[in-house]
Symmetry: C2
């Protein structure tokens, strides 16, 4: 069996902000999904993979109009303003910087809308080989109230999907937080 010459495996990751910290950070489940992907899939084979980070901003704030920029290196985040932080750019900066340290190439961008719908729409548009989404790993009772992006993506995304559940020892006091 041949592996296509010059091809890389493109992994799309939906990443979200933490709901608990006062200052914006990547959510526990997003960081867990990233760590898992590097440790278990990419490993030291960094040149064979490209990570694509998608952050979906829920539109309950002022309109931002430059959502379609693509960020691929730590330099792209040199002068973050408060407005950039509010947009979630700090979140992309975190993952892009980590990729840079590890030596795996990446792209990151922000879209606005309903996260589950936007993620599936972006899968259709960029056609990654794999979608990785973190999940809080809530029980059926809790899920009724919060819904889950990961379940929707497993059903509807047009590519293979891995859900990485947050480990129990990383769950915050209120497991609905992340």
């Amino acid at each position: 069996m041949e592996i296509e010459e010059g091809s890389v495996t493109r992994i799309l990751m939906g990443v979200s902000e933490s709901t608990i910290k006062g200052y914006p950070h990547a959510s526990i489940s997003s960081r867990g999904a990233f760590d898992w992907t590097i440790q278990k899939i990419v490993r030291y084979n960094t040149s064979a993979f490209k990570l694509l980070f998608l952050h979906v901003q829920v539109p309950d704030e002022d309109g931002f109009d430059d959502m379609d920029s693509i960020y691929a290196s730590p330099e792209d985040f040199k002068s973050l303003t408060d407005r950039d932080r509010a947009k979630g750019l700090h979140l992309l900066a975190y993952f892009v910087t980590r990729c840079h340290e590890i030596g795996v190439s990446c792209e990151a961008w922000i879209k606005r809308g309903d996260p589950k719908e936007v993620i599936c729409h972006e899968v259709k548009r960029v056609q990654p080989d794999l979608l990785v989404v973190g999940s809080r790993g809530l029980g059926p009772f809790q899920r009724v109230f919060v819904g889950t992006v990961s379940e929707f993506c497993v059903k509807h995304a047009e590519c293979p999907v891995i859900t990485i559940k947050r480990s129990a020892d990383e769950a915050p006091q209120d497991p609905v937080d992340d």
Copy 2:
């Protein structure tokens, strides 16, 4: 971030026999899941992965008693009898031989029972890093009648799960076949 020294990523694959061919073969979806795993995840980094093949035999035949053997190289299948073929050993031989050709280490074994229950039970026992299952990719109407192993595993397996849907151009005339 450190990758554990000497560790390999252990991928469990549930594999099944074809329902269509006269002579026993691996199902279309099992072969698709295997090819995808090699091309998109393992790539040329063969020493970093170990594949674990589990075939679950549905117990509607004569009792077989040597189900707990582990097969890891083509030599293990040198003298297959008809009885071995009926047990599904030819299926393991197919995947073990392909791993041998590619140069990725593997183990393969057979269990009897309800495939979805046994796969989740084996995940708990062998604790792989990832479970890969093929799926016929049936629509909701067809699924009502045939059930799906993959959906059950996504919900219940205690490790990350990837479902690899059979591509539309590989589907047989009757899509419930595989």
